[in-house]
């Protein structure tokens, strides 16, 4: 019996976050009285886009067995520079490139710090969080927010729609899916996550792998910044402040083990982001107060992650792996 459980448990485990998502979708339908409209779907996609891109890129870092908690603020800085560029006449496409450049640039700094100076990524990015927050504040320069002109005719409004978001998320996810599941990059990522020592003794350059990983996630940061910008058309000191934690929650929600390695799933980012958006919408539709809605989110989060982790637990208590 136990063997059967183990066997099927192992096979079924990847499906648990999906099952969670489907369960949430059912609750969602229930809450909408089984009358979902195109608007429901549009809204879900609108809301999930930024988080989906960010967390899909972050899966690569997670697979290494690490986490970049400064992702959100990096996106904030990217949004801010993008707005400055746009207001300086760079145009929407120019702005996209500026966002990408900043996202990738910040990630490169992170990757160099972590690979050349061998800093543990999680703690290093905690310091980066402080640095980037200060940079964002200085860039915004004492105003409550920076805006881009956003009248109905503003060029940026052309990009504030469902199809642009679907395109961005779709293309980025497709590329990540290929990179993660069908290239050496993904294999080596999981290898390093499984054991950096073994990976190194199998000819994987940890430094190179770290830099590639951060380049991928940095691209995600840039794209997410662009999507954020077309949607919010503004940046303030709080932009992205809580996003780092949200991304972490989303990926774990999506069934990613914190230790990375062989169990890593590229879909974790999207599944988790969708789940969180659904939970949030369900709670608002039900009119739950802000405090209680956080409590419900917490319970659901822990429950899903617990069930998903059931088949790979050990006798010893789990420990953090980032130190």
């Amino acid at each position: 019996m136990r063997d059967v459980l183990l066997k099927y448990g192992n096979k079924l485990k990847p499906a648990i976050p999906f099952a969670g998502l489907i369960l949430l979708a059912v609750v969602y339908l229930f809450v909408t009285d089984f009358h979902p409209t195109p608007f429901h779907l549009t809204t879900i996609i609108n809301q999930v886009a930024v988080m989906a891109v960010l967390s899909t890129g972050a899966v690569f870092i997670f697979a290494l067995g690490s986490f970049d908690i400064s992702l959100g603020v990096a996106m904030g800085v990217s949004v801010c520079v993008g707005i400055l560029a746009y207001n300086a006449g760079a145009g929407v496409v120019g702005m996209l490139f500026v966002c990408l450049a900043v996202g990738i640039g910040v990630s490169l700094v992170n990757s160099v710090l972590s690979s050349v100076f061998r800093l543990p990524v999680f703690i290093m990015t905690m310091a980066m969080l402080t640095v980037l927050t200060a940079v964002l504040q200085i860039l915004i320069g004492g105003k409550s927010s920076l805006l881009v002109p956003s009248g109905i005719q503003a060029p940026i409004k052309a990009f504030d729609n469902l199809w642009v978001r679907l395109l961005f998320v779709g293309v980025y996810f497709a590329i990540c899916l290929v990179l993660f599941n069908y290239t050496k990059i993904g294999r080596r990522n999981k290898l390093v996550g499984g054991s950096p020592i073994v990976a190194a003794q199998t000819g994987v350059s940890i430094a190179k792998q770290t830099i590639i990983t951060f380049l991928i996630s940095g691209t995600g940061v840039g794209l997410a910044a662009f999507l954020m910008l077309t949607r919010a058309q503004a940046v303030s000191v709080d932009t992205g402040a809580s996003t780092g934690m949200d991304v972490m929650m989303a990926i774990v929600f999506g069934g990613m083990p914190l230790s990375g390695g062989a169990h890593s799933k590229i879909a974790a980012g999207i599944v988790g982001s969708l789940s969180i958006v659904l939970v949030s919408q369900i709670l608002t539709m039900l009119g739950v107060s802000p405090g209680l809605s956080q409590v419900y989110k917490a319970v659901l989060f822990l429950a899903v992650v617990f069930v998903a982790s059931l088949s790979y637990r050990e006798k010893m208590l789990s420990r953090a792996i980032m130190f």
């Binding site: 294999r187 190194a200 994987v204 790979y312």
Partner: protein, 415 residues
């Protein structure tokens, strides 16, 4: 229970290690009397005949072999009814070994029991009253002392009579002249000038005491450790500076720390096997497709007869021997022409061991050059075309393959 791996925690004192898990005996109401702990530790050490270790020192301050003694004391301190010793003697010094044998006798004299788990048949035959042979997780047979016989035990362990020879049978120590790896004047990590050439189709044995520098040497040959001085050059004269170049020159390395350096325990067999040969199956140098990957790993699983439900089974569910087969599969799959094997038969059962020896011989015949680093003289003598003995970071003696070579001849150059 005394386990194979180190069971001493280095961050705390010796006395605290000995008191581990029994701490409730000292002091009351959750408080702890440190002096009591130290006194008790001293007392325990004395009962096993050790008086030269100060238990108040941190455990990190004593060497590995003394730590094993601490571990023995830790278990003994609990006055166990049942004393389990798991593969300990391989890691323990002569002194520790005699202490252990002594305690085992005391235990049995006191009418209590000992379970002694070991690969070393000689040792088992010497100290045990009854022997149970296990194979593939099943009890094969139990023998009383009176029925002990080397041949019978060996046979029980592999489940059949040993087919053919255990080691290779020939004493033809020849190999082609082509040099595939040229090692010059290596220094660093305890080495003080090591020079030798490795030839195509040669099995080069390297032996010595465990701290003679042969293990770092293996890592240096594969580019994991960088020498301070000297060089390792491949056939084309290029210097091997890191693992990536080593792998490009078709080197493979089987680490002695299988679980932490050679394999990822929490990953499937397939991922582990493919990891070294990924460049071979990557299309356009980048893309890897599950079908090719599956075929690649299936070949190794079949060739090595790795016992598993599928190649998606996780490494941590395999036995030591099967794990080692995966390691070999990983490097042979990567088409390595030079194999550096560091203790390739450590902790695996006799059947797999024999298969490994046969494999090495087959590889030799295919022209693969093998460096076998080992602490077991018997297998070095049995397998090597040429045998280098190391002492204090230097090569102290070179032996050619010969039927007359014996352990006693060699041992003088080791210690």
């Amino acid at each position: 229970m005394i386990v194979q791996e180190s069971g001493v925690i280095t961050g705390i004192s010796i006395a605290e290690n000995i008191a581990l898990g029994e701490i409730n005996q000292f002091g009351k109401y959750g408080f702890l009397r440190k002096k009591q702990v130290v006194d008790k530790a001293r007392e325990v050490l004395a009962t096993i005949g050790v008086t030269d270790i100060d238990p108040s020192l941190p455990a990190a301050s004593i060497d590995l072999q003394d730590r094993k003694i601490i571990e023995i004391a830790k278990v003994w301190a609990k006055s166990p009814e049942l004393f389990i010793v798991d593969e300990t003697t391989t890691a323990v010094s002569q002194r520790g070994r005699s202490i252990l044998y002594d305690l085992m006798k005391q235990q049995s004299a006191a009418g209590k029991s000992v379970i002694f788990i070991s690969h070393d048949i000689d040792e088992v035959m010497e100290v045990c009253d009854r022997l149970t042979v296990l194979r593939d997780g099943n009890i094969v047979k139990s023998l009383p002392r009176s029925e002990f016989s080397l041949d019978i035990i060996k046979q029980l362990m592999i489940g059949r009579e040993l087919q053919g020879d255990y080691y290779r049978s020939d004493y033809d120590g020849s190999y082609p002249d082509e040099v595939v790896l040229s090692v010059k004047d290596l220094h660093g990590f305890g080495l003080t000038g090591v020079t030798f050439d490795l030839h195509k189709g040669e099995i080069l044995g390297i032996g010595g005491m465990s701290h003679c520098g042969m293990h770092p040497l293996g890592k240096m040959l594969f580019g994991i450790l960088q020498p301070q001085n000297g060089s390792v050059k491949a056939t084309d004269g290029s210097q091997i500076k890191d693992v990536a170049t080593a792998m490009k020159r078709a080197l493979g390395y089987v680490s002695k720390d299988r679980d932490s350096e050679a394999l990822i325990p929490l990953a499937p067999i397939r991922d582990n096997i493919v990891s070294a040969g990924i460049d071979l199956i990557a299309k356009g140098g980048l893309f890897v497709f599950p079908t090719t990957e599956k075929a690649f790993s299936k070949k190794q699983v079949d060739d090595f007869q790795i016992k598993c439900s599928s190649d998606l089974q996780f490494i941590n569910q395999l036995s030591g021997g099967n794990k080692q087969k995966v390691v070999f599969g990983k490097w042979i799959g990567a088409q390595s022409k030079v194999m550096i094997l560091d203790c390739p038969t450590r902790g695996i059962d006799i059947g797999v061991k024999q298969a490994m020896y046969q494999l090495m011989y087959k590889l030799k015949q295919e022209g693969v050059a093998i460096i076998m680093i080992s602490e077991e003289l018997a297998e070095l003598i049995g397998m090597s075309d040429r045998l280098l003995i190391m002492k204090n970071g230097k090569i102290s003696k070179e032996f050619a393959r010969s039927a007359d070579l014996s352990e006693s001849q060699i041992i003088d150059y080791m210690v």
